[in-house]
Symmetry: C2
Subunit: 333 residues, 2 copies
């Protein structure tokens, strides 16, 4: 049910009965490589376009998540998915492969938690027994759509981020073993007037802060309640801004427990500028690394805040600043 | 709760407490002109791009829908919206204007019923008191994105359709006066191998048929149960294919009660080829004309099946056929 202004509390605590993280060649050398279910050596995944390669990543993640849950796709009632490609074709084409009733979503890099929140809502309110939430991104497909074709070799400032090649999927179920989804806070669109496509972390930080603030207000708790709080795609630059803003709002930030998926994912010597980003960033980190740590008993209560820059190349062509949104999901083992 | 494989039955029958249809200059001459809440004489709506004009249409529709419900935006918990522009910027920018927690969706022209279904689910399961669902399309913004810039004057075959300039919004509430949402059937992606962007109706007809078939199976009823059954964007060509396919599947089609929003909306002498289409097509027809007829007592039970071609210009550049999806919502007065 609704608690406070914008938080859904799931009384039945739906379970993530199976989840999967898959990645590309760059992710094979990442800090969290061991937490992936599958790593692909070929950036093309044997396909003739990067977009089709991205679809293939999502198909892999969905297949593995369903398998790990010990079920089959015929028992999945709904598939909720979104990605960064125009018309979210990775999601739609995967929905065609799966043949499961499909709800397309779009929240840019916040899509992972938007999908997980909606899937949990469907299961909690008995509108589904099993709902599959997925998202994906592909470095080469995104770079050419949102910035410059990679071949241009355009230089990037240190605030830029590296789009993750990968896909994450989670099967949310009424029954099963795994982390449970406690609640979700749906964010408002926040726009602080930033328009630099090479500083998405900076643009998205205020949206993350807005949603975190709403979450602790609606749930009447402090951030220290959690063993780990991870934003989605802020990178180092955005993360620092988020810490500053939260502190300014009078919110006590447990710095040793507050991190970002875009910082966690890659090694320090990988050339990712400020950190990782892309729809897959929060998804692979959550459904690989964080869920694994929860299962090992290292983490009990985790809050993930995926942040999305709802920009289009159009927004800066049209001299518009970038509207951003963040959705938070709380998991418990 | 879930009934059958893919239908959500809303026990509380959430009410459409306020809804609105707005249009552009071409819609001012349409067959349903009198059913619009607002018609704009200027295709640009005073903006400097067609994309911003589309956002303006959506802002108008949302504002009017909230006003007609006799409430204010502070009482709306969630805004669910999608459109055809890359990164659904019309929706995201409207979400910024509204300042209401936002869930972006993408179902191409099926977005209207995807949003209405999800908003009804939120309200029925007590995760929201009021949820606003909206969608929009703009003829000039869509034509240049999906086909050829209008200035090229490219000739079109008779199977082509006319993208509606407009926006429709509905406020779904726990309390209020208006048509009630009885149930929704979420569709699977269907792809019959068609790849002609000038015959979307033909590509989408099988998806409409798939969802109608699922709906009557899950709800254990016949199509004659309804006073009117309206598909969203099939136009004349797609509509005929849908009738044929349903008949072939052994489903009795009450032809006098089975129509399409893309046929209803425009006059026969308007140059719309096979009929209207675009996210706004089913939205303005439902939230204007159909709801008005329900309120007058002319229609009691209505089934709307919005159909979306989840194509991208990429799908045919990449020699892919077009995956399609349809979602059905049943209304009752």
């Amino acid at each position: 049910m609704l608690q406070g202004h914008q938080t859904w509390v799931f009384d039945s605590k739906p379970v993530i009965s199976g989840c999967a993280a898959v990645g590309g060649p760059f992710e094979s050398n990442s800090a969290l490589a061991d937490d992936f279910d599958r790593l692909n050596e070929d950036l093309w995944l044997g396909q003739d376009s990067f977009e089709k390669a991205e679809k293939k990543l999502m198909e892999q993640a969905c297949e593995i998540a369903i398998k790990k849950a010990g079920t089959k796709k015929e028992d999945v009632q709904f598939f909720l998915s979104g990605d960064l490609i125009n018309q979210i074709t990775s999601s739609s084409f995967t929905a065609r492969t799966l043949g499961v009733p499909y709800l397309g979503i779009y929240g840019a890099c916040s899509s992972s938690m938007e999908g997980l929140a909606l899937a949990s809502l469907l299961v909690d309110s008995k509108f589904a027994k099993n709902a599959l939430a997925a998202t994906s991104s592909h470095n080469a497909a995104c770079e050419k759509q949102y910035r410059y074709p990679t071949e241009y070799g355009a230089q990037k400032p240190p605030t830029a981020q590296w789009t993750v090649t990968g896909s994450g999927a989670a099967l949310v179920s009424q029954e099963g073993e795994g982390p449970r989804v406690v609640c979700a806070t749906i964010g408002r669109v926040v726009d602080m007037g930033l328009s630099d496509p090479f500083n998405m972390g900076g643009a998205m930080a205020p949206a993350a802060v807005e949603t975190i603030t709403a979450h602790i207000r609606d749930m009447r708790l402090e951030l220290s309640y959690y063993d780990l709080i991870a934003t989605g795609d802020l990178g180092r630059v955005g993360h620092e801004i988020a810490v500053e803003l939260l502190t300014k709002h009078g919110i006590s930030v447990p710095k040793d427990k507050f991190t970002d998926c875009g910082i966690l994912l890659y090694k320090e010597d990988q050339p990712v500028f400020s950190g990782g980003s892309g729809c897959a960033c929060a998804a692979v980190t959550t459904y690989g690394h964080l869920v694994n740590r929860m299962k090992k008993g290292e983490l009990k209560k985790v809050l993930i805040i995926a942040t999305g820059a709802l920009l289009s190349p159009m927004s800066y062509q049209q001299k518009e600043s970038i509207p951003c949104v963040a959705h938070a999901v709380s998991l418990e083992m």
